[in-house]
């Protein structure tokens, strides 16, 4: 490629990233600390802010491991056990991508609401799903379900079955083969899926907003907290919480890259 067009493409690419990604993020950073470091810190350190942080981390702690285990299992099923219904499973797994999170939230209402299918029975058993943590966890799992599957399937396809068959002939059982051969071979696909899942759970707004009722200090995750602060004209608080969210996501990304670099020596 000619140097001129190469520079042209570079400028275009960087300009795009700058205008659409870096500029807004940079502005949040600037706005957060415009009035000094204490207003945003105070907002986050408030009981409501800390509760929101705690809830968000809880969502991640529950949804990410569950979706990772499910995702890897589902990918194995899709790639290693060919049967006719596979295309259906494949399509259904994509549903959370296709459906608006608000609709997902509403569908949970239909299931677990006071007049929903499971709602009354669960209420009798003393389990409150809506406007409380279980419902929010369900919503988080729902919206972030496809990532690990989608990232794992192509890697699993690419490594093929020969390594696994070799392990079998060397005496390894199904679990040993998975742990010692398959999992190490697909680990970066899975890791990338985990990062995406984490990011999605951290940032989920729509579905969680519908099922949680966004009760301040009780059922507010960080994104809901950001919105509330913004509505109450507490801009430093909103920006501070936004920064915290961005930092959490960046940390996950960095952690994966560090692991990868460490491994590649």
């Amino acid at each position: 490629m000619a140097p001129a067009s190469r520079w042209g493409l570079r400028t275009l690419g960087l300009g795009y990233v700058f205008a659409l990604l870096l500029l807004p993020l940079g502005l949040i950073f600037y706005k957060t600390f415009e009035g000094g470091i204490s207003p945003p810190l105070e907002a986050i350190a408030s009981p409501e802010g800390l509760q929101a942080l705690k809830l968000t981390l809880l969502m991640v702690a529950v949804a990410v491991p569950l979706n990772t285990v499910f995702g890897v299992g589902c990918a194995l099923l899709l790639v290693r056990h060919r049967w006719r219904g596979n295309f259906l499973v494949d399509a259904v797994i994509n549903l959370p991508f296709a459906i608006s999170p608000v609709v997902i939230g509403l569908s949970l209402f239909l299931l677990y609401g006071t007049t929903g299918w499971f709602g009354p029975a669960l209420a009798e058993a003393g389990l409150k799903v809506l406007f409380s943590v279980p419902g929010m966890v369900l919503a988080s799992i729902f919206v972030s379900l496809p990532f690990v599957v989608r990232e794992t399937v192509p890697v699993l396809r690419e490594i093929g079955t020969e390594q696994e068959q070799a392990a079998h002939t060397l005496g390894a059982g199904a679990w040993q083969t998975f742990r010692r051969v398959t999992l190490p071979a697909i680990r970066w696909g899975v890791a990338y899926g985990v990062v995406l899942t984490t990011a999605r759970v951290l940032g989920e707004f729509g579905a969680v907003s519908v099922v949680s009722g966004s009760i301040s200090g009780q059922t507010q995750t960080l994104p809901l907290f950001v919105e509330k602060q913004y509505e109450n004209f507490n801009l430093p608080g909103a920006f501070g919480a936004s920064m915290l969210l961005a930092l959490l996501a960046l940390t996950t990304l960095l952690a994966m890259n560090l692991l990868k670099r460490k491994e590649n020596g």
């Binding site: 020969e162 390594q163 068959q165 070799a166 392990a167 079998h168 002939t169 060397l170 005496g171 390894a172 059982g173 040993q176 010692r180 051969v181 190490p184 071979a185």
Partner: protein
């Protein structure tokens, strides 16, 4: 240990991969499964290993019916065409895999691994990763890995298929020596008849899911059971109903008894061996294999007329019995 396959049948969808296959492999032998692609030879090998289940029939290893046993309990070593190296493990870890699964003590396992790396001439490369090895080295690593667990049977699926010609030749000789040293009953799959004849003591020729014939290279070459074996094992010309090996095609300059007129179309010098291509009166194309001195004595030139006399011809009647002229 001896291996027997009895009445094996295997179907993949519409495709009949194995169609009533019977073979017997003597203890300690080196046997080749030879056939064109799609002949079922790889499927047969995978069935013996337990990587495919049979629809009908049985696999016996040392007299035991192992048909229902999973691959990991059959005590077979399997080597894949594309090595199936564990990419995230070093050469040492690859070879040690089976021993770790069997929970060998560390020191003992390490000794065994180094013994094997020595055997396959990779002793200096133990800490390398498969991606840092050449194809030939990877395949030797895969062999060491398969041998580490002291299998009763060693199975190789087109082991040299992905390697270039020179490395392939070296590895063939090396496999023969290895077999002589270890004495493990070995079966390997190949579509290359030269490779099969060079390496194996016994050949099983397969076609369309069936065994066409088995025996030594000499038996198959001298007494092929049918047209397929005759044309697959060695080169062959067709003269009407009869089959003639190119080296049994005598070239003379004058017509005589049982000769056929032919036009010399092309002379290909392959060193000592000369390949002379002819066109017969009916348009059929045949070729004769001559030596350089023979060619010089005949002074053949392209475009001239010569006469062909088959020294030995084989024809097959319905029952597949061969007859020499």
């Amino acid at each position: 240990m001896g291996i027997a396959v009895e009445g094996a049948r295997k179907r993949f969808g519409e495709f009949q991969a194995l169609d009533d296959v019977w073979i017997e492999v003597p203890d300690g032998s080196l046997t080749a499964l030879l056939g064109p692609s799609g002949s079922g030879k790889s499927t047969l090998l995978r069935v013996i290993a337990g990587l495919e289940a049979l629809d009908a029939g049985a696999v016996l290893i040392d007299g035991d019916d192992v048909s229902g046993r999973p691959a990991r309990k059959r005590k077979v070593g399997f080597v894949f065409q594309h090595y199936a190296a564990f990419k995230h493990m070093t050469v040492f870890e690859n070879v040690c895999f089976g021993l770790r699964i069997r929970k060998w003590p560390k020191a003992k396992a390490a000794r065994r691994v180094h013994e094997l790396l020595d055997l396959v001439q990779l002793e200096g490369l133990a800490e390398r990763f498969p991606s840092q090895l050449s194809g030939g080295q990877r395949q030797r690593m895969a062999l060491a890995r398969a041998l580490a667990v002291e299998p009763q049977v060693l199975l190789l699926d087109e082991p040299f298929g992905a390697l270039d010609a020179k490395v392939r030749r070296d590895l063939r000789a090396w496999l023969r020596r290895l077999h002589a040293e270890t004495g493990v009953t070995t079966i390997f799959v190949t579509h290359d008849q030269e490779e099969a004849m060079e390496v194996a003591g016994q050949l099983v020729v397969m076609n369309e899911g069936r065994v066409e014939q088995s025996g030594s290279a000499e038996e198959l070459y001298e007494r092929p059971a049918n047209e397929f074996v005759m044309s697959f094992v060695g080169e062959v010309n067709r003269l009407g109903e009869a089959f003639v090996r190119p080296h049994d095609m005598q070239v003379v300059l004058d017509p005589g008894e049982r000769t056929e007129e032919a036009l010399v179309r092309r002379i290909v010098a392959l060193g000592f061996e000369i390949r002379v291509e002819f066109v017969l009166g009916d348009g059929a194309e045949v070729w004769a294999q001559l030596t350089r001195p023979e060619l010089q004595r005949l002074e053949l030139r392209e475009g001239q007329i010569a006469y062909l006399r088959p020294l030995q011809a084989t024809s097959f009647n319905g029952s597949g019995v061969s007859a020499a002229v």
